[in-house]
Structures are given as structure tokens and as C-alpha cells.
């Protein structure tokens, strides 16, 4: 019979070594550059999904990497670093969104991603979905992105957006329904 041991500690499975994080915490430029190389795209894409605006997403990306040396002290290495960083990014993007709401509405012309990682034969279908997502109300879009792409539960989304789980569920279902109608 196969011998099964206790699960290994997650730190052994991380992409990011403790040494790298320690150096990033000390604001060493090389370490921050390395983290940017590894996670810059993830952070930017995550921010973009929420904000649908390249300039705002770039602001979030800068903010995240500016704050990273201080923030990594709060990462306790018990979960995936990328997962933790995505959550920090979501929070930062949501803060940006709230401040933007007080400024002005974003125009749809700004809502075009600059590049798509898609196979050529799927581009049409994905562009259609991209336009359909952009046409959702902001409330529906945020919940859809957090739920469908970022994998948050409705309970977590409720806490993030200060809405009830029920409201999150309802917005999500309305978003999916709307997307189906638009893509039909």
C-alpha cells in the first residue's frame, strides 16, 4: 500500500522563493523587477477586467508594485503568492473604481483591451463576448468578473462590494443572462 504522508507545506510549491520576497521587502530593485516580470501581466489583466480602462489599469499596476515592499510583510506564505497578489490587486482596483465613480463615467471607447491572447479562429467569438461584457452595467460586470474570472464566492463578493450575497447572486445571474442574449 502506498505510504501517504502529511501534505507538504505550501511554501515548497510556490513559484516565489522566500529569498525573493525578503529582498522585495527590502525594496531591492532586482527583486521587484523579477516579480514584475512574473506577475506584471497578471496584475494588469486583473485590474483591467475590473476597470476596463488601460490608463486606470496601469495606475493600479504601478500602485501595486509601489506598495509591494511594504505589503509583502503581510503575506504569510501559507497560500499561493499569485493568489494573494490577485486579491490585493482586486482590492486596489475596486478602490480605484470607487474613486473613479466620483470623478466621471468611463467611455466605452476606452474599453478595448490592447491585446488578446486568443487563437485566431476564436477571436470573433471572444471579441463578441468582450463587447457584451463591456455593455453590461458596471455592477453586473464587476460581479461577473469577480465570480467568473477571479473565482470569488458570492459571500466574498458581498464583503468586497458591501452588498448582500443575494445581491451578488442576482447581479451575476442577470449578467450571465444578458451575455447569453447578446451572444445568441
Amino acid at each position: 500500500m502506498r505510504e501517504k504522508g502529511l501534505p507538504q507545506l505550501p511554501v515548497e510549491n510556490l513559484l516565489v522563493s522566500r529569498g525573493l520576497l525578503r529582498r522585495a521587502r527590502a525594496s531591492e530593485p532586482d527583486a521587484l523587477d523579477a516579480l514584475f516580470q512574473m506577475f506584471g501581466k497578471v496584475v494588469y489583466s486583473t485590474a483591467y477586467r475590473i476597470l476596463l480602462n488601460p490608463a486606470d489599469a496601469d495606475d493600479v499596476l504601478q500602485d501595486v508594485f509601489l506598495g509591494l515592499p511594504q505589503a509583502t510583510g503581510k503575506y504569510d506564505a501559507r497560500g499561493s503568492f499569485e493568489g494573494w497578489l490577485r486579491r490585493v490587486t482586486v482590492n486596489t482596483a475596486l478602490m480605484k473604481l470607487r474613486s473613479r465613480r466620483t470623478r466621471s463615467q468611463v467611455s466605452l471607447e476606452d474599453c478595448r483591451p490592447m491585446g488578446l491572447a486568443t487563437a485566431p479562429d476564436q477571436i470573433e467569438e471572444r471579441l463578441a463576448l468582450e463587447n457584451a461584457i463591456a455593455a453590461l452595467s458596471e455592477d453586473q460586470r464587476i460581479v461577473f468578473v469577480l465570480k467568473q474570472i477571479e473565482g470569488y464566492s458570492h459571500e466574498e463578493i458581498g464583503r468586497l462590494l458591501s452588498i448582500s450575497q443575494l445581491a451578488s447572486r442576482s447581479r451575476y445571474h442577470r449578467a450571465i443572462k444578458r451575455l447569453r442574449e447578446q451572444l445568441a
Binding site: 510549491n13 514584475f36 501559507r78 468582450e130 467568473q148
Partner: protein, 708 residues
């Protein structure tokens, strides 16, 4: 009219967010509903596309801007843990000493449960064997078995691949026990290598008397490294399913204590807790369970050395823990890529095939055939759904092929599957041949493979029931084929000793055809007196009977039919005392003992749930049955595990429910009846003895009336 699931339900199904029970319900709807399949497919597709969207390269100069801002003294405090919902677990997995866990097992295995005065003992040496060991047995009987010269030890063996429930299980006599002193016997046997779990009973020569330790049996658990193996504990759970759910739960608990590193162990535990409504009673444990998946997820993701059990266990633990979709999709993808022939992967692939084929049955049959060629009988769902699709498609070649495959996986279902062929003209003859073969097999079968707890006499009686069922089906098939005389012969044999309305009706039809009106109405009188017969049909039968036999003759016929119904119904009765001093609360929240509520009258006890579609669908019939039973002085008690709440009260009021509904405090009633699932109906006599268990709703009145 088909009732489709709501869009929100389908969206949650596509996201794997439904409970197992709701998921199963939606799955069964999807199989037959192309419209909803298309909806689910489109939702899944939207999710797939969305996850691939916006993989956007950041501007090239961002990091340069970051450096400049940093040099300029710009600092940002990011919203991290304070506002980020934590998925990090709040505990560490720890091993539990085998001795502690075994103590738990021992309580579960041998804890006092019955009030039998003649408790006997069966001892094994070694008590914690490894497969292949020779095991010495000592049986000490204080019972009526202790006078024989020889006794026989019988066993039910389970291998690591055993399925839940004991349908089609193999039983065998493994040792002759010699008397060494009055009431004391010795023997030995070799535990086969493949066996991980075994149960035992002792009986006399010929199996006339059986000591099954009060239906608890005695048992051996294969050990490795001083503790029962995980597979052993899984097989113990599988064996207990359907006969003692509480013990199955305790076994699952022991498995997590002995094998905390196995994700599947935690999934099984969570499943039993959810099913027995126990998780909610222990908030800290529930909290741990919600986080346990993420502990495993962090520890195991990225590890390349996981088994199919581990990966499949993570998938199902994630689902039952309501984990995020990305994690679930991750484990599902790994399962399909790394262990595509594992039973859990095959189950996923089968359901995916059915859903993605979008109701194109021809395509489903072809795709499942391809899958079968690749993986064979890896999971029972494959031949089951293959056969379903073939039958719906009316593809006779595919039906025959899948039927043989299903026979190998689920031999216990062979008779029912053969009966289904009778409705397909092109396969009716094949169905008849299969039924005859099954009849021959049954007639030849010795008593050697009877269940451990079943005496030879009980087995004979059960076999007689099975024979009658098959004979009735053969009779029906022959009549449908135009071979009326032969069919009538089979039907009359089937109806000679049992109460089989379908056979009675068919015999009546044939006798009318043969112009034997008296014989026909005699059979119809049995339908007329059975409470499950529709009143309009019963009225018609009364008119025809009175016209043909005259009123006095018809009344005598009716009376004979009623006596016969009661006789044959009572012949099926069991006679068990239950512990009914269990607490229940009425819909106003007032608690009392079930024994007081059932006091001194024939009572029907129903287990029912507001969240169970079949239960809800049966509300009108339950109300009708209640009204008729009450008119005859028979009461009905409906028990639900849901707490009394304004929502439940409103739900019942909106549906005009007048029958009494009680909340099962702490699940005691469920345990008293060894009940599982809803709706289930039990009939108790005026002394509180359980006489009929798990009877169909349409037969409840007949059983209850027979006890009056």
C-alpha cells in the same frame, strides 16, 4: 408538462455550485432536456471564453514609472489582509493516534444496539489481520445455536473496488466450526488477499437458524501499518449505506482521523454530515470544513505525484466545500488529464458527454461507445447512461450491446432492464429470453449466496417473490406478443400467491378476450378493493361486476377479494420493535415524544422534506391518503428534518397541507427508523411495531388497512 429548472439554478449548475442532491436532480433533468442542456452549454462556454479574455500585456514603461515614483518618495499602502477575505485555513492537519481512532471504530463496530438476551461472541485471532493471513475463529454461543455438533461460518467479502450498497454482493460459507465444549466452537479460514473488509454470521446446517449478531454481524478490517487501511474504511462505509447510516458516518469520521492526509476521506465525511444534517450542529467543525479544502489545495496543487484518488478527492472536496470555481476547474482539469481512466474522471467524462452532446442521442451513443472502448467498465454511470441513451434512441443493436455491459456492472438490475425491453417491439423477444434465463438461474440458484442475515426460509420466501415478479413480466410480454394462452398461464402463476395488481389487471383483460367474464371480474374485484385503485375505475368495476354476477354474488366476490388482500398483505409484514421515545416538535414548536403521538393506533409515518422535489410533488397525494386514512381511524405522521419556521409554515399553508408535520429533533426519528432519503413511508401497528418499511405511497393504505 415539463418543469424546467430556473435559469439561476442552471447557472449554479454550470458553476458546480449546487449541492450534490440538487446537482443530481438537475443532471437527471438535463439528460432529457435539450433546451436546458443548451443553456448550460452556453453558460459554460461564456465562462471559458471569459477566463481567456483580457490577458493583456502591461505597458512597457510601467516598471520604469514605478522606479521614478519610488525615487520621488511616493509610497502606497495596499489594501491587503484587512479587507481581503481570507481563504487561509485556521488549523493544521494532525495525525491521530491509531489507538484513539480504533477505539472510535470499536464503539461503532460493537457498540450495544439491540436488546437481545442471547448475545453470543465471535472472536478472531489475529484481531487485526492482514490480507492472506490464516485466521482462527472462536464462537461462543449462548443462543439456540449452541446445541449443534457443527456450525458454519458465512462471510460477505469486500474488495477495494466494492460499490455502495450490497446489491449483488457475494456471500459464502468459509469455515465449518467444530464444537469444543457446550456452546463453544472453533474453526479457521484464510482471508483472501483481495479482501479489505469482511462481515460474518454463524448458522446451523442448512441455514435454518442464523446468528447475525442482531443484524450487526461480526467484522474484520484489513490492517496496514497497525491501522485499518483507507480502502477498508471506505468499504465499511459502502457496506453500511442503506442499513445503518449513522454507523457509516462514524466510519467516515474514523477514516479522517486515521487518514487525515486523504482528501477523499474528508469529502466522504462532509457528504454524510450534510446528508444526515449534522454539519450545522457543530459550527467550529463546519468552519474547519469550509477551509480544509484550501489547506489541501495549497499543499497539493502543483505536486505531480498525486493519485487519481487524491485528485478526484480534491475535486469533490472542493465541490462540497463550495470552493471557488477556479480551484474546482483546476482539479477537474488535472483529474481528466492525469487520470482520465479513474472512475471519478470517467464519471465526469460521461456526464460531460451527455450534456455537451446537446440531446443528440445518436452522438451520445457514439461518444459513450468511444469512451467505453477507452476505459471499459470504470464507472457504473457509463453503462447506465449508455443504455438509457440507446433505449431512448430505440437503437436495438446499441441497446443489446449496452445491456450486456450493464449486466456485468450491475447484475442486480438485469431483471428490470429485461422488463424494459418488453415495451420495444423489436426487442420484446430478446427481453423474454433474458427473463426466462433469469428465471432458470433463479430456480437453479442454491441458498449459498443468500444474504448473511437471511435464513434459508427467508431466502425461499424472497426467491418466491422474485420468481412471481419475473413470471408476471413474462406473462405480460407473451400477451403483448399475441401469445395469449401462454401469457395467461404465466400471469396466473404469478398471481397465485402475491398481490400483484398489474398481473390481476392483465389476467382480467385476457380473460375478457377469451370470453371468460366471470374469471375476469373475479380478478377485477381485487383491483376494486385495493385502495390504490382510482375511484373511477373501482366504480366501473363495481358496476360491471354487479351486472355480471348480480349484486349478492358481486358482494361475496368483493368480500373474498378483501380477505385475500389482507392475507397476502399481512404475509409480507415484518415485526420489529422500534425505539420510539424520540423527541419531535410540531409545527408550533411544541415538542413531544413520537411514542405518545403514535399511541395505540395503526399509524403511517412518512419522512418528508421541503427541499426534495418528489416529496413536494407528493403533497396532494399525501393529503388525499391522509383524509382517507383518518376516515378509517388510521393516523399519519409526517416527519421532516427541517426546523419549524415561518417559512415552512407558510409553505405548508400555501399548499393547503392539513396533515401533521413534525420536526425530527436531532435526527432521532431518522435513526430510529434507519431511514434515508425522502419521501419514505412506514406503517406501524397499534403496538408500535414496525410492520411495513419503505412502502410506496400508493400501497400505504392497503398495508395500513390490513393492520386494522
Amino acid at each position: 408538462m415539463t418543469i424546467h429548472p430556473r435559469f439561476a439554478t442552471l447557472a449554479e449548475y454550470a458553476q458546480s455550485e449546487l449541492s450534490d442532491k440538487r446537482r443530481a436532480r438537475v443532471s437527471s433533468h438535463l439528460i432529457a432536456c435539450p433546451e436546458c442542456q443548451a443553456t448550460v452549454r452556453s453558460i459554460v462556454r461564456i465562462g471559458e471564453l471569459a477566463r481567456a479574455l483580457y490577458s493583456v500585456e502591461p505597458p512597457a514603461d510601467t516598471m520604469q514609472k514605478v522606479r521614478e515614483r519610488w525615487k520621488a518618495g511616493d509610497r502606497i499602502i495596499l489594501p491587503t489582509a484587512e479587507s481581503v477575505p481570507s481563504r487561509r485555513p485556521h488549523y493544521r492537519l494532525v495525525g491521530v493516534g491509531a489507538a484513539v481512532a480504533l477505539l472510535v471504530c470499536a464503539v461503532v463496530f460493537f457498540g450495544p444496539r439491540t436488546a437481545r438476551a442471547d448475545r453470543s461472541e465471535l472472536r478472531f485471532t489475529p484481531g487485526t489481520p492482514e490480507p492472506g493471513d490464516t485466521i482462527a475463529v472462536e464462537y461462543v454461543s449462548t443462543s439456540w445455536l449452541g446445541t449443534a455438533e457443527h456450525l458454519y461460518l458465512r462471510a460477505r467479502y469486500r474488495t477495494a473496488h466494492g460499490q455502495p450498497y450490497n446489491r449483488g454482493a457475494h456471500h459464502r460459507t468459509i469455515s465449518q466450526l467444530e464444537r469444543t465444549a457446550p456452546g463453544s466452537y472453533r474453526g479457521s479460514f484464510v482471508l483472501p488477499d483481495s479482501v479489505v473488509y469482511a462481515l460474518f454470521a454463524v448458522e446451523d446446517s442448512g441455514g435454518r437458524r442464523v446468528d447475525s449478531n442482531g443484524r450487526r454481524f461480526w467484522e474484520l478490517l484489513a490492517h496496514d501499518g497497525g491501522k485499518p487501511t483507507f480502502q477498508t474504511l471506505v468499504q465499511r462505509q459502502n457496506d453500511l449505506i442503506g442499513r445503518n447510516w449513522e454507523a457509516a458516518l462514524a466510519t467516515a469520521q474514523a477514516a479522517t482521523e486515521l487518514h487525515p492526509e486523504v482528501p477523499l476521506a474528508w469529502y466522504y465525511l462532509r457528504s454524510y454530515q450534510a446528508a444526515l444534517n449534522q454539519a450545522a450542529t457543530d459550527a467550529p467543525a463546519s468552519h474547519d470544513q469550509a477551509n480544509r479544502f484550501y489547506e489541501f489545495h495549497s499543499a497539493l496543487q502543483g505536486r505531480p505525484d498525486l493519485t487519481g484518488d487524491d485528485i478526484g478527492g480534491m475535486l469533490w472536496l472542493g465541490r462540497i466545500s463550495s470552493a471557488d470555481t477556479i480551484s474546482i476547474v483546476y482539479w477537474r482539469r488535472r483529474l481528466l488529464e492525469e487520470a482520465p481512466a479513474h472512475p471519478l474522471a470517467v464519471q465526469e467524462r460521461v456526464l460531460e458527454t451527455v450534456v455537451l452532446d446537446g440531446g443528440d442521442l445518436g452522438r451520445t451513443v457514439r461518444d459513450l461507445e468511444t469512451l467505453w472502448q477507452e476505459v471499459g467498465p470504470a464507472h457504473p454511470s457509463l453503462p447506465r447512461l449508455g443504455l438509457e441513451a440507446a433505449i431512448q434512441l430505440r437503437d436495438t443493436a446499441a441497446i443489446t450491446t449496452w445491456l450486456e455491459r450493464r449486466d456485468t456492472v450491475d447484475p442486480w438490475a438485469a431483471v428490470n432492464n429485461s422488463m424494459r425491453l418488453l415495451d420495444i417491439p423489436a426487442l420484446r423477444q430478446h427481453g423474454l429470453e433474458r427473463l426466462r434465463a433469469e428465471l432458470r438461474r433463479l430456480m437453479r440458484a442454491g441458498r449459498l449466496n443468500r444474504s448473511l442475515e437471511e435464513s434459508a426460509g427467508e431466502w425461499d420466501s424472497a426467491r418466491e417473490d422474485r420468481v412471481q415478479t419475473i413470471l408476471a413480466a413474462i406473462g405480460k410480454g407473451l400477451v403483448m406478443s399475441g401469445r395469449v394462452t401462454e401469457g395467461l398461464d404465466s400471469l396466473e402463476q404469478a398471481a397465485a400467491h402475491s398481490w400483484n395488481l398489474s398481473a390481476f389487471k392483465m389476467i382480467a383483460d385476457v380473460k375478457f378476450e377469451l370470453r371468460d367474464s366471470a374469471g375476469a371480474v373475479s380478478m377485477l374485484s381485487r383491483l376494486a378493493v385495493d385502495p390504490s385503485t382510482q375511484p373511477a375505475l373501482a366504480d366501473s368495476i363495481h358496476s360491471v361486476g354487479a351486472e355480471l354476477l348480480g349484486v349478492p354474488g358481486w358482494l361475496r366476490t368483493i368480500e373474498r377479494a378483501r380477505v385475500l388482500m389482507h392475507e397476502r398483505t399481512l404475509a409480507e409484514a415484518s415485526n420489529y420493535f422500534l425505539r420510539l421515545d424520540v423527541a419531535v416538535a410540531d409545527r408550533h414548536g411544541t415538542s413531544g415524544l413520537l411514542s405518545d403521538i403514535l399511541a395505540d393506533q395503526v399509524t403511517v409515518v412518512a419522512f418528508w422534506s421541503r427541499s426534495c422535489a418528489p416529496s413536494v410533488n407528493q403533497i396532494p397525494q399525501i393529503q388525499e391518503v391522509t383524509d382517507r386514512l383518518n376516515a378509517r381511524g388510521i393516523s399519519i405522521v409526517v416527519i421532516t428534518s427541517e426546523e419549524v419556521s415561518p417559512a415552512l409554515t407558510r409553505f405548508l399553508a400555501e399548499r393547503g397541507v392539513d396533515f401533521p408535520v413534525y420536526h425530527d429533533l436531532n435526527g432521532q426519528a431518522l435513526r430510529a427508523f434507519s431511514s434515508w432519503g425522502t419521501p419514505e413511508y412506514y406503517v406501524l401497528d397499534a403496538h408500535g411495531r414496525l410492520r411495513f418499511a419503505r412502502v410506496p405511497l400508493e400501497d400505504v393504505e392497503r398495508f395500513a388497512e390490513a393492520l386494522k
